[in-house]
């Protein structure tokens, strides 16, 4: 492991111990070196002093040739254990006395050398003159000292050095263990925090600040950074969530829009096709009293079938439709409708369940005095039915469907002051529930959990209907915990009363000159014939351009039309251009637009300019009469 990879604690310890160790070693080495050299010098001095003393004491022995005395003097060297050999030469260079007394000649230099002491291999040795009176040399003293003293001394110092270094290192170790925490502690804490952040992606943790030094500043900066990241993360998450919701909403709308466009086109063609059949059947039933009972029954069936087709087509169209501008909301008696829902849907939930051998119950918890809301009865009815069907389907093992109504918001039961007042219809089941994914996607067209058995259109239609009513939909659901759909209808600012049932009697006989414009010959004829029967004077024009020509011709001839009924979708010149032409010549002449896709126009925001009234295909004789009567 290289030094760079060591943990910072060990790095610090190594640096501290290494530094103190090296310093101590250096000090000891210098000390030892100094000792070594001074000891050598002092050794020489000591030996030379000793030599002087011995030499001085040996003068008489040499002068008077007394070997015993000389030997005695030398024997005194025994007190100096480092002196390993000594001898006295007489003034002729012969060995006169020796120490130790028994040594052979080989121990000593054969002849005295130059005065002074020098280091030999393992010894310090040298010669000193023996002089009593200055100028008269009596002989020479040879002394040899081993270096044991020096070595002893050096060994002692080495041992002391080792002990000092060892002891200091121990002290340094203990101290550095304590002191390194001052530096490594904050860094380790910081590293720990950084690790926690990177491993757990938890940006809410904060590193502990120990002091206000550089590490403290680093920690503070790190914490600041974490706070910023956390904040940005949060903002990012929020932005992401918003984006996702928006994206989903847009996707949802786009799908519904695309579907609405398709449905609109299909509806137009079907409506055109069935319009004559509808008109003729109605006319026959009304005007031919001599029809046989069977014919009358057949016609009634045909009329019902056409109504069913029209109904189906209109429902298709309703996928995506803002509130129909020409369809005004009427006061709806919610409790009445909700109360009837059990009977209306019983065939689905009770009978089918019985066939499968399971039991589904329905409970009602209705607020008796639920306020009247504004809406379209048929849409609300269809929405409730759809939700009840789904509830029944969500309980393959049976269960209970509960329908509750209540009032919330200002003046409501729960008294929530902030929310706008609204009436709530709640449909709960005890079924399998929905997971998050299903909950999120259940309003998408063609999304279904029923496999082949579902169209995926039920809740999409509920969604469209609720949008048109400005009503909110809430879902409470979890897998295995059942599902609650909550429809919250806004209450009108002013309480409204239920309108009395509209009386629709036969139109007052009012004869008008009417121009009917359509590119469909059959439809044109059926309208002309039925209206002529009512006594109106009908002029038909097959196509937009012809319609305009016809109208202008009538104006010029002084026989203006009282009303123009024109189809909307025609090749080349469409109904809107016809209407514009009519209004440019005679602004007072009412123009009725007959269309199978008028809703499509409304939803795209194109206000039908120059149009006084919209009539849907297939046209009902009753509606036509009503429209003409209003002129």
């Amino acid at each position: 492991m290289s030094f760079e990879d060591l943990p910072i604690r060990r790095k610090l310890m190594t640096i501290m111990l290494g530094t103190s160790g090296v310093v101590l070693l250096l000090v000891c080495s210098v000390f030892l070196g100094y000792e070594f050299f001074t000891f050598r010098t002092s050794s020489v001095q000591q030996l030379s002093t000793l030599g002087e003393v011995i030499a001085s004491n040996s003068t008489a022995a040499l002068a008077f040739d007394n070997r015993d005395d000389a030997s005695e003097v030398l024997a005194a060297l025994a007190a100096e254990r480092h002196i390993v050999a000594a001898c006295l030469y007489d003034n002729q260079g012969r060995v006169f006395a020796r120490y130790p007394s028994g040594s052979g000649d080989a121990v000593f230099p054969a002849l005295p050398g130059a005065d002074g002491y020098r280091f030999e291999k393992n010894h310090l040795a040298g010669f000193a003159p023996v002089v009593q009176v200055k100028g008269r040399r009596l002989g020479t003293l040879y002394l040899r000292s081993d270096m044991a003293a020096l070595f002893d001394r050096l060994r002692l110092y080495a041992v002391i050095s080792v002990l000092v270094i060892g002891g200091s290192s121990m002290v340094a170790y203990v101290l550095s263990r304590k002191l390194q925490k001052q530096i490594s502690g904050p860094i380790l804490a910081l590293a720990e925090t950084a690790k926690a952040v990177s491993e757990r992606r938890d940006y809410s943790v904060r590193a502990r600040t120990f002091g206000r030094d550089e590490t403290g500043a680093l920690t503070a900066a790190f914490n600041e950074m974490l706070a910023q990241i956390q904040e940005q993360n949060l903002a990012l998450q929020r932005a992401y969530d918003e984006l996702r919701q928006t994206q989903q909403a847009i996707l949802q709308q786009e799908r519904l829009r695309a579907l609405g466009q398709i449905a609109s086109g299909v509806a137009h063609d079907i409506n055109n096709a069935i319009s004559p059949a509808s008109l003729y059947a109605e006319a026959l039933l009304e005007r031919e009293p001599n029809l046989s009972a069977r014919a009358r029954s057949y016609l009634t069936t045909i009329q019902r079938a056409i109504d069913d087709v029209a109904q189906t087509v209109s429902r298709l169209r309703e996928f995506y439709r803002q509130r129909k501008p020409q369809i005004t909301l009427t006061p709806v008696d919610l409790p009445q409708w909700v109360g009837q829902m059990a009977d209306l849907t019983r065939a689905h939930w009770a009978d089918m369940a019985q066939q499968s051998g399971i039991s589904v119950e329905m409970r009602m918890e209705l607020l008796p005095a639920l306020p009247v809301v504004l809406g379209v009865e048929s849409e609300i009815r269809d929405a409730l039915a759809n939700i009840i069907f789904n509830a029944a389907d969500a309980m393959p093992d049976g269960g209970t469907i509960t329908i509750r109504t209540r009032v919330a918001g200002p003046g409501g039961a729960d008294g929530r002051s902030g929310a706008p007042a609204h009436a709530t219809v709640e449909i709960s089941d005890t079924g399998i529930g929905m997971d998050e994914e299903t909950k999120r996607r259940c309003f998408e067209p063609f999304f279904t959990t029923k496999g082949e058995g579902g169209t995926g259109l039920g809740l999409a239609m509920v969604y469209g209907a609720m949008r048109r009513h400005d009503a909110a939909i809430e879902i409470d659901s979890a897998p295995g915990r059942g599902t609650t759909f909550r429809l919250c209808f806004p209450l009108p600012a002013e309480p409204v009363e239920l309108a009395p049932p509209a009386a629709s009697g036969p139109a007052a006989a009012k004869r008008l000159r009417v121009l009917v414009v359509d590119d469909d010959r059959v439809l044109l004829d059926s309208i002309a014939e039925t209206l002529e029967y009512d006594g109106h004077q009908i002029v038909t024009a097959n196509g937009g351009q012809r319609g305009i020509d016809e109208f202008l011709a009538g104006q010029r001839a002084g026989r203006p039309f009282a009303v123009v009924i024109t189809d909307l979708g025609m090749p080349e010149v469409d109904g809107l251009r016809v209407a514009a032409a009519v209004k440019s010549v005679s602004p007072g002449t009412p123009v009725f637009l007959l269309t199978g896709w008028g809703q499509g126009m409304a939803e795209e925001g194109r206000a039908p300019e120059n149009v006084d009234r919209m009539l849907t295909k297939p046209p009902k004789l009753r509606e036509l009469r009503e429209a003409l009567a209003s002129v």
Partner: protein
């Protein structure tokens, strides 16, 4: 003859001295027989005493006054003693050898060797020298008894010294302890 090893002056002086000594020895041999090995040593010892004995200050006279090694009676050294002291100086005083026939002849003298020939008259001689700053040296058996200071004694073929410190002290002489250690200390009464 190389036992004299003066420091310094060099080979030339040593050579000259050797030549001189040889000449003198040659001359001595012509007059008397060369001294025995014993007396050669004793001559050197006589010279060496000058290094281990301190004479009272002023007893040597002025700087030119010689340091006298005297021989009383028959001279056993021949020319050897002269050769030994030749050219030597003690404290600046040149060393000379003087020979005396009688004690009355002894003048200024620092070391006096009393020859064996004077054995019978020793007491008289020493008594006469009493009070003078003269180191008396002899080798007669009754030398110490007679009041002599330093006596040469032969032991196992070696010359040993017997010194009467009392006598030397009475003569105002101080004998170095080093010399005393190399010698045997005696008193007149013990002998």
């Amino acid at each position: 003859m190389a036992f004299l090893r003066p420091k310094g002056r060099g080979a030339l002086r040593r050579l000259a001295r050797c030549l001189l000594a040889i000449t003198l020895l040659g001359a001595a041999e012509a007059r008397a027989a060369a001294p025995s090995r014993e007396y050669q040593l004793k001559a050197i010892f006589l010279f060496n005493f000058s290094q281990f004995v301190a004479w009272p200050a002023g007893s040597l006279g002025d700087a030119q006054a010689p340091f006298v090694v005297g021989v009383l009676g028959n001279d056993p050294f021949g020319d050897y003693l002269d050769a030994t002291v030749l050219g030597e100086k003690i404290g600046g005083h040149p060393m000379v050898v003087r020979r005396y026939r009688r004690v009355e002849d002894v003048g200024d003298c620092q070391v006096l060797f009393i020859s064996g020939s004077e054995e019978g008259r020793l007491e008289g001689i020493i008594a006469r020298l009493g009070g003078r700053n003269i180191l008396t040296v002899g080798d007669a058996s009754n030398f110490s008894r007679s009041g002599g200071m330093v006596r040469f004694v032969m032991e196992e073929g070696r010359i040993r010294l017997k010194i009467d410190v009392q006598a030397a002290r009475s003569a105002g002489l101080t004998i170095s302890s080093k010399l005393l250690r190399a010698a045997a200390i005696v008193t007149r009464e013990e002998e």
